[in-house]
Amino acid sequence: MVDEISKKIEIEVLKKIESGQVKMRPKSFFYIKVIISVLSIFFGLIVSALLLSYIFYSTRISGNLNLLGFGSKGIYEFMMLFPWLIVVLDVLVLLFVDWLLRSFKFGYKSSVIYLFLGTLVVMTLLSTLVNFTKFNKAMMYRAEYDRLLLGNNLYGSIRRSHSSRGLFFGYVESINNKSIILVHTDYKGSKTLDRIEVILSPELIHLNSIKIGDNVFVAGVVSPTSQVKAYGISKIVKLD
């Protein structure tokens, strides 16, 4: 019975080959497949690196990194403002790149964890290189004037104050015993200036050596009278 089945299979397959129903794929098909895989891996790594560099850049420039030094309330605000969605997207892109890499010998011969760590290292190095360029700065400036095709919200919101969360950044216009007047901008193309009174303990002013004209990041609680009772303040470097 097995011989009969074997003969049947052979006849069927050869018939399909002779009739042209089944054709050999040309070598170029396989070269193109490899090229597409390689390009997809390359672009995947680039996208992943850009996403990671955005995370580093936005966390630094927005001043949110300073929140980690402002006690438990600061850490809470940091966690709430951290771009978690971008992190998830980045991990998904990395996993996609790893899935593509597993179709190559060096990919499937490695364990999943080593492959993931390897691509993570490559992606981190690439994102560090991006951070040495002015790419993110340029994207941010364009987004603040709504000039980006994609990512206006992402880049445009980096330097925005979060007044509802009591987070502001701007420059010190004047200093009193217990408060400072902060002039903050909401970077949205035409800069609009707003003044707020920030109540600070003398220790906070002294510890941070705050002077008039300094650019600062303030975290506090906004009172009904629109004063801000600060729990943290940090000097920051001004970007033009």
Partner: protein, 190 residues
């Protein structure tokens, strides 16, 4: 088939087919039909299903023959296609996923392949496979068949299943233990 053709290796025949000698493909089918049929019977019970899958395998082999690198062995390459085709067929017929996320491939394992051990255990394992293989998960079934019945090395199995060599070793060890336990239970029932 003349003597000259009989003496050609699978790799040489594959090269001839790649260069347009379609008739030589019948030799590949002759040499591998019964092996692939036997391999498939371990996974699919219905003879018609196995026949369809074997036919699909040869069609795919012919369609993709130009991707075969003649510097490599032909056997693992055709078994790679067969493995994928059988797994797809099982997935179509089963209700749930074939197996959930495979933790064996997550981390690296260090294993040493000992062909002498395989040689000693071969007849014992083959007997157990005939009696108890159906009770094992697919991932252990396929590895035991490839290692003990088809006698591929760990490296070749790694290329067929596209998993790390360490994972092959771990699965062979675990599969062997599970098979022995399953065989003991089957023997008790008898």
């Amino acid at each position: 088939m003349n003597d000259e053709t009989k003496s050609l290796t699978d790799e040489e025949i594959a090269v001839l087919v790649q260069n347009g000698d379609k008739d030589k493909f019948a030799i590949i089918m002759d040499r591998y039909q019964s092996k692939l049929f036997r391999y498939g019977r371990r996974f699919l019970t219905d003879v018609d299903d196995v026949t369809d899958v074997v036919q699909d395998v040869f069609i795919k082999v012919y369609q993709n023959i130009k991707s075969f690198d003649s510097k490599q062995r032909f056997s693992p390459w055709i078994y790679r296609i067969a493995h994928n085709t059988y797994i797809n067929s099982i997935k179509k017929n089963s209700r749930g996923p074939l197996y959930l996320f495979d933790f064996d491939v997550l981390i690296s394992h260090t294993v040493v392949e000992d062909p002498l051990v395989r040689g000693r255990e071969k007849s014992e394992i083959k007997k157990m496979i005939d009696e108890s293989l159906s009770k094992l998960e697919t991932k252990y079934k396929e590895i035991l068949i490839l290692y003990y019945i088809e006698e591929f090395s760990y490296k070749e199995i790694s290329d067929i299943l596209q998993i790390p060599i360490g994972t092959v070793g771990v699965r062979v060890m675990r599969g062997r233990e599970l098979l022995k336990n399953s065989y003991k239970e089957v023997s008790k029932e008898k």
